[in-house]
């Protein structure tokens, strides 16, 4: 081990380990312990029940749709902020982080009011018979809102650092804007886009506060997995709550692993460029 010149190592590491153990490791350990104490058959019965499976479906599909929307919108937003100069650009740039700064319950009631049938936006599709609030579409809206900054903030720095010479070379060779974007720029953005996508998707899978207001929360159709865990708790069915929460926990760890791999690749890519 390297020699230590600076003081404070035992104290700093001690505080860190105590804090992490009590605040992070202990509760997660207790949850895993509780879920594991169920035994495989009971566990499987709970996590594969039709209501649970329906909740995974609506959560995953809404998260996919929200992430797809954010892919296009987030990318366009990053592009506009980096490549164009227009009045109010800095203001918009600062506003991009609003979904992270706004408490989710506040976002939830605001979006529900906007997208309810008599709301500013909900009334438009309502003419065509399309309801947004209290349907899976509403879940998608809430997820898209809360995870929007991820794609913008991962793509933006890469777009800023993009070497203009690459585009110029492609232009000299007679490439159209469209083909240069698709064949030169997009491939360079791909690692950052993938990292942003996985962050956005992971956040959508775990989101709770913004969604429960707008979702309608009907079992089998608009009930997300996080809410099902919450409902099981309120019914004092602690085993089922532990089992369903453990599914979310395992998914989060999987997404964390994927995100870390993608981010490491994106960073290596940036460092090389």
């Amino acid at each position: 081990m390297a020699r230590r010149i600076l003081p404070g190592f035992p104290l700093a590491l001690g505080i860190t380990l105590v804090y992490v153990s009590i605040i992070v490791v202990l509760p997660l350990g207790a949850l895993v312990f509780k879920a594991a104490s169920l035994g495989f058959e009971d566990y499987w019965r709970i996590v594969s029940s039709p209501r649970a499976v329906a909740s995974y479906r609506v959560t995953a599909l809404s998260a996919l749709a929200a992430t797809a929307f954010n892919l296009v919108f987030g990318m366009a937003l990053a592009w506009v902020l980096v490549r164009y100069r227009f009045p109010g650009r800095r203001f918009i740039d600062a506003l991009v982080d609003l979904p992270f700064a706004l408490p989710t319950a506040v976002a939830g009631i605001a979006l529900t009011t906007l997208f309810a049938e008599n709301g500013w936006f909900g009334s438009v599709p309502a003419h065509a018979g399309i309801k947004v609030a209290y349907t899976p579409l509403g879940i998608m809206v809430a997820m898209a809102f809360t995870s929007l900054p991820f794609i913008v903030r991962t793509v933006q720095p890469v777009l800023e650092d993009l070497d203009p010479a690459l585009e110029e070379a492609a232009q000299t060779l007679g490439g159209s804007d469209r083909s240069i974007f698709l064949r030169v720029i997009l491939p360079l953005l791909t690692p950052a886009l993938l990292a942003g996508l996985s962050l956005s998707f992971a956040r959508s899978l775990g989101e709770f506060g913004a969604i429960i207001f707008i979702a309608g929360n009907q079992p089998m159709s608009t009930e997300i997995t996080a809410l099902l865990a919450f409902i099981r708790l309120e019914e004092y069915d602690y085993q089922a709550a532990a089992a369903i929460a453990s599914v979310l926990l395992i998914t989060a760890f999987l997404m964390l692993a994927i995100t870390n791999i993608l981010q490491a690749r994106a960073l290596r890519y940036m460092a090389r460029g």
Partner: protein, 302 residues
């Protein structure tokens, strides 16, 4: 490089028609997705006039919720800050076995649904949890009381301060501190006179973001607080209660306080970013599982 528009041949996407259309579409979407939610909060909060608004804010339950939220932040944020500084000091100033792993563990709360965090705390301090029965017989209340709310808030914000400091302190290296100690400064003196001035903006940045999240946390707190009106309702929980009671104006009045907090946080963020904060870590603002030292090393090497 800094200005891609002037003094260059047009780059991809610079055709005026395309440019204007894209800016138009994006601004319209920003108005719908980001500005409208903020506007509707203000609109609804004041929809029944200033008096109703003032009465809603001055309601004892709302005032209690504001007080509880502030107290929670006053406890959770300083403890979290001390932890963040200690973690950053240990991780960036020393090499030790398990350093990388420790970083991953610190970042875990970012990836976990707040509901999972709440449920997990129930299995530690609840009656059906590890310490629940012992705490109950000793008559110590953690859950459905202030300690539970503070603990759950500390879980969801555990990485906030550390994540701002680690990449910055990693990039700054150890030379200055080593020079100070070799000249005879004590550890504390070295920290306060050498390290702190270099990290103060990033530290403040982390504290601001941490505070915003603590005051706005909903999911984790809603599991552990028990939602007792006038007792364990924080402001976000109180908003939910009012909203489901069909007291829309009251709910939005309470929400407007938190929306104002969000706007102030964004302004503080912009001002601190001008001082260089948040730059060592080029990734999303409030909730990203990060690989912090990799970021720092990537930026140093590029």
């Amino acid at each position: 490089m800094s200005n891609p528009v002037k003094g260059r041949p047009p780059r991809v996407g610079d055709a005026p028609a395309f440019r204007r259309t894209l800016i138009g579409i994006v601004l319209a979407l920003v108005a719908i997705v980001i500005i409208a939610p903020l506007a509707v909060i203000g609109y609804q909060a004041f929809s029944q006039g200033l008096q109703v608004y003032a009465a809603a804010i001055a309601h004892p339950d709302t005032l209690h919720a504001i007080g509880l939220t502030v107290v929670t932040a006053l406890i959770a944020v300083p403890i979290n800050t001390a932890f963040g500084v200690a973690a950053a000091w240990a991780i960036t100033k020393f090499d030790f076995w398990g350093r990388r792993f420790l970083l991953v563990v610190i970042e875990i709360p970012f990836s976990i649904s707040p509901i999972v965090a709440g449920v997990a705390y129930l299995f530690v301090y609840g009656l059906q949890g590890l310490f629940g029965p012992a705490l109950d017989s000793a008559d110590i209340k953690i859950l459905f009381a202030l300690p539970g709310i503070v603990l759950a808030s500390m879980f969801v914000t555990a990485p906030f301060v550390a994540r701002e400091l680690i990449p910055l302190m990693q990039a700054q290296g150890r030379d200055l501190e080593e020079a100070a100690t070799s000249l005879g400064a004590s550890g504390w003196r070295t920290f306060f006179s050498v390290t702190l001035p270099n990290i103060r903006w990033a530290l403040l940045y982390g504290v601001v973001l941490c505070n915003a999240r603590v005051m706005g946390e909903f999911g984790a707190v809603s599991v552990v607080s028990g939602n007792i009106r006038g007792q364990t309702n924080t402001l976000p929980l109180h908003i939910e209660l009012l909203y489901h009671d069909y007291q829309t104006a009251g709910a939005f009045a309470a929400a407007s306080i938190l929306a104002l907090l969000a706007v102030v946080t964004l302004i503080a963020k912009v001002l601190l970013e001008r001082q260089g904060a948040g730059r060592a870590r080029r990734r999303p603002g409030l909730a990203a599982p990060a690989v912090a030292p990799k970021t720092a090393s990537a930026e140093v090497s590029s």
